[in-house]
């Protein structure tokens, strides 16, 4: 199956997709918040962030010093555009499948009910 335009190979892996999705809702988020929200280890998150930073999808800024040192992460415009394109591509795949795709995919329902299984699956994957 061919992938639609906008599909981003870099964002596609589940952990990176979650990181970018979280950052897309924020101007910036600090490192511990991202780590705790996605149930990742410091090293796993750091690795994913550096991969995305090298691609120019996000900026990592360190503030302060000593024990008050903070790391803030911000999605760049390039990263935001890539994420929106990737989401649009996923949407196109689902819609392209027509009747074979789950019917509820196009319906705006409260996220909590539907995302519970996905969340569990994601956390399991992220923990690896």
């Amino acid at each position: 199956m061919s992938t639609p335009s906008g599909f981003d190979e870099l964002i596609h892996p589940s952990t990176r997709l979650s990181v970018v999705a979280l950052l897309a809702a924020t101007e910036w988020a600090d490192f511990p918040f991202i780590r705790d929200s996605l149930s990742l280890s410091d090293s796993a998150l750091s690795k994913q962030l550096h991969t995305l930073e090298e691609a120019g999808y996000l900026e990592i800024r360190k503030e302060g010093g000593g024990r008050k040192r903070r790391t803030k992460v911000r999605l760049t415009q390039r990263g935001r555009t890539a994420f929106e394109g990737h989401v649009a591509a996923l949407r196109a795949i689902v819609e392209g499948a027509g009747a074979t795709a789950p019917r509820t995919a196009a319906e705006p329902e409260p996220a909590t009910a539907r995302t519970a299984p996905a969340s569990q699956q994601h956390h399991a994957e992220a923990g690896r």
């Binding site: 199956m1 061919s2 992938t3 599909f7 190979e9 596609h12 589940s14 997709l17 979650s18 990181v19 999705a21 979280l22 897309a24 809702a25 924020t26 101007e27 910036w28 988020a29 600090d30 511990p32 918040f33 929200s37 996605l38 903070r70 929106e84 989401v87 649009a88 996923l90 949407r91 795949i93 689902v94 392209g96 499948a97 074979t100 795709a101 789950p102 995919a105 705006p108 409260p110 996220a111 909590t112 539907r114 995302t115 996905a118 969340s119 699956q121 994601h122």
Partner: protein, 168 residues
């Protein structure tokens, strides 16, 4: 290199995107519900500023106190901004937050003016202290519920924004 993604996987990925966004809104709502310290500190600074009006300060001293008030509020904003773990993206804010900001200013100003009139008409002693206490009290009572009201629709708005973004 290209990745082949079937519709089911794409649908799962679309659901997966919502999970971290929910964590962002959880954090925003948690701050709106529990972070009372900033409200009390702001009310305390406001109380000191309004109470100082009763000291019949010379003009230069009034401006000095006003400058101190502004600097105090600025420092407080800076401090709580440093403590926050994230900032919501500008596209996710709702009109309610701006309405709450302006309505808060109007209500606070109206309370100060009304309490001033009340104190004057009743001829109460320590008028500025009463005025400061009433104004700070109204601020504390209103800011919590107003803040919760302002953030209550952000989650639904965020979900809608994602769907609209997907639809483009």
């Amino acid at each position: 290199m290209s990745t082949s993604v079937d519709a089911e996987q794409a649908w799962l990925d679309l659901q997966r995107i919502r999970v971290p966004e929910e964590r962002v809104y959880d954090e925003i709502e948690r701050c709106a519900h529990r972070d009372a310290r900033s409200t009390y500190t702001t009310a305390a600074i406001m109380w000191v500023f309004i109470a100082s009006w009763g000291l019949d300060l010379p003009e230069w001293a009034f401006w000095l106190v006003l400058a101190g008030y502004v600097v105090g509020l600025g420092a407080l904003g800076y401090h709580f901004n440093r403590r926050s773990r994230l900032r919501l993206h500008r596209s996710r804010h709702s009109w309610r937050q701006f309405a709450m900001f302006f309505a808060g200013m109007v209500v606070t100003a109206a309370t100060i003016l009304l309490s001033d009139r009340l104190v004057e008409s009743l001829g109460l002693p320590f008028g500025s202290l009463i005025q400061a206490t009433v104004s700070a009290g109204v601020f504390v009572l209103l800011v919590g519920p107003a803040n919760r009201w302002a953030v209550s629709t952000l989650r639904a708005r965020g979900a809608r924004a994602v769907l609209e973004g997907e639809a483009r």
